[in-house]
């Protein structure tokens, strides 16, 4: 993978919330250097005649609020809660 591509992948990893070790970078970037050109074969494909999926075909149910009765159970799954709320590290100083 050339330098420009490697920088692009590092930026993508950062945006995806992944911090990669040097060892992971070596494996993943060398794999992606082979995988990306393989995927990019499709740029040569003529897609004339294809249609976009029609969102109208999807049926929607009424948007009604109801009590799942699961709020407490859901909060119990959280790694950290305070007074019935999810707790996260400080975000503003």
């Amino acid at each position: 993978m050339d330098r420009a591509n490697q920088e692009e992948m590092e930026r993508i990893a950062r945006l995806a919330g992944l911090s990669l070790s040097e060892e992971e970078k070596e494996i993943l970037f060398s794999d992606l250097a082979r995988i990306v050109p393989y995927m990019e074969r499709i740029t040569e494909l003529d897609t004339e005649g294809s249609e976009e999926p029609d969102p109208e075909e999807m049926s929607l149910r009424e948007d009604e609020s109801r009590d799942s009765g699961l709020s407490e159970a859901i909060l119990k799954k959280a790694p950290k809660t305070v007074d019935g709320m999810f707790s996260v590290p400080r975000t503003v100083e």
Binding site: M9, A16, S19, I35, M39, I42, T43, L60, P79, F86
Partner: protein, 496 residues
């Protein structure tokens, strides 16, 4: 220890024997756990068992049979799988039981609700005995990408059982469950079923609710059965299918008539073999033995009066890249929910919120998952969105159209399930391009949303099972399972 006869029954045979009091559900559960206790340490089909609960459920099932037989009029009929021990894949939720998706990220996740398909399985009387191992979040073809370690092939512990539902297939083939639910995004039910000599059905997209199936690529994720017979696969499909208000993509679909499968005839049927599924993909070549098996199937069908033709579907040459572009894009979006805040793993000692996200995700995900997240974000980035992601969406529509056209002329399509039989551990997991290319035969049905079943047909020189795939039009389960039954009756080895 000699194999106990009860263990080789099909799920439907066992259900029948239990209702006729020839055996009890407790005996079936005990026999399964004796086998598990003796062999599971070297197979690792499961990540967890629920022995105590299974035994008490089995007792309740046997009590219900007694009541029914004593003429209790409150019970109008017994549920179809009453007392039959089955397993579920580790990405299907069962309220109160850990579901980890083969990932450190969800190692301790206990869902507060049950997946719709699992709920239906419970209502059908099945005794759920444990959750089976899988590639992390369904990403893999060998079950080697599990945080909890690899699963072994039932016939050779140095080989893989396939993936990602490798634990489900290994459990059913090793007589550690009578049937199992797996999930299939790009082939994860069909390919392990093929490697382990079983029947694996990927149902029509939408016919089985995805509610409670942990998302990988939502437009292609499907739950379905891995079973010892075509009738078991059909019975399990009939149980788990049906529309669900909790999944807006779920639809109503026809039930499979199992007795009609018995009288299915191939005479006059038009069966196509897509030639693109027999060609090389990257460094993966169709093995001679798999090709021979396909040839034998073709001769058998012709002898019985079917009309076989090779069909040209040029768009399928692009199926693997299209599948990996779309599934990785959807995965990168679906997996963004794992941030260490609401559930799942949370990293220690984060300096701030961003650091918490990054540490949690970097420590919680395995290498293959990270590879897919990077690939997915790459194809979705503004520089590549139009020429790669949107192009792949358009190509998927062309795949769909190509199948529609072919099914206006053919009743069925036949192909190998996998170009190769079960490889040794390490052979495919170490090279992602080989792993991806080996999905050539299974990803087309995933892209088109059509049903496909893998059936056992013959074996290679090492005695390893070979799987063939039958594909049908949307809602064509009756047709492909009828043909599956035909092969089961007339087949190589696996027949009766």
């Amino acid at each position: 220890m000699e194999k106990e006869p009860i263990l080789s029954m099909t799920a439907l045979e066992l259900a029948q024997a239990i209702r006729k009091k020839k055996v009890t559900s407790v005996e079936a559960v005990r026999a399964i756990f004796r086998n598990i206790d003796e062999h599971e340490y070297e197979r690792h089909a499961y990540v967890a068992f629920w022995k105590e609960e299974a035994l008490s459920e089995a007792l309740a099932c046997d009590a219900l049979v007694d009541k029914y037989n004593a003429g209790n009029t409150e019970i109008s009929e017994l549920p179809p799988l009453l007392g039959v021990p089955v397993a579920i894949k580790d990405n299907l939720l069962l309220s109160g039981k850990t579901a980890s998706c083969g990932s450190k990220m969800l190692e301790n996740y206990i869902p507060p609700y049950t997946a719709s398909c699992v709920e239906k399985l419970e209502k059908a009387g099945a005794v759920i005995i444990g959750r089976t191992n899988m590639d992390e979040f369904g990403m893999g073809v060998s079950t080697e990408h599990s945080y909890f370690g690899a699963t072994s092939h039932p016939m050779d512990i140095d080989r893989v059982p396939g993936g990602s539902s490798g634990g489900s297939a290994a459990a059913v083939a090793s007589l550690e469950a009578f049937a199992a639910l797996g999930t299939d995004t790009g082939g994860s039910i069909r390919q392990p079923a093929a490697f382990c000599g079983l029947f694996g059905l990927r149902p029509t997209y939408g016919s089985v609710s995805r509610h409670g199936l942990v998302a990988f690529a939502s437009s292609m994720d499907t739950a379905g059965p891995i079973a010892r017979s075509s009738a078991d696969a059909a019975a399990l499909f009939n149980i788990v299918m049906g529309p669900d208000p909790k999944d807006q993509t779920s639809v109503s679909s026809p039930r499979v008539d199992i007795s009609a499968m018995e009288s299915y005839s191939v005479e006059g049927k038009r069966i196509g073999i897509p030639k693109q599924l027999l060609s090389d993909e990257g460094d993966v070549r169709l093995s001679e033995e798999v090709a021979e098996s396909l040839q034998k199937a073709k001769v058998l069908l012709q002898e019985k009066g079917a009309i076989i033709e090779e069909v040209d579907m040029p768009i399928l040459s692009y199926a693997v890249p299209v599948y990996y572009i779309l599934s990785s894009a959807e995965a990168s979006s679906n997996l963004s929910r794992y941030d260490g805040i609401r559930y799942g793993y949370r990293a220690e000692d984060a300096a701030d919120l961003h650091d918490l996200y990054t540490k949690t995700r970097s420590e919680g995900f395995g290498l293959e998952v990270k590879r897919r997240i990077l690939l997915g974000n790459y194809v979705l980035s503004s520089e590549h969105f139009e020429d790669i992601y949107r192009k792949a969406e358009k190509a998927r529509d062309l795949v769909r159209k190509a199948f529609e056209e072919v099914f206006s002329k053919f009743d069925l399509l036949l192909s190998p399930t996998s170009p190769v039989t079960a490889p040794k551990k390490g052979e495919i997991a170490d090279d992602p391009l080989i792993a991806y290319a080996s999905d050539l035969c299974t990803v087309p049905a995933s892209l088109a949303g059509i049903p496909a079943v893998s059936i056992p047909f013959g074996e290679d020189r090492n005695g390893l099972p070979i799987g063939l795939q039958l594909m049908g039009p949307r809602f064509g389960e009756q047709e492909i399972l009828g043909a599956a039954r035909f092969f089961e009756k007339n087949g190589e080895g696996g027949g009766d």
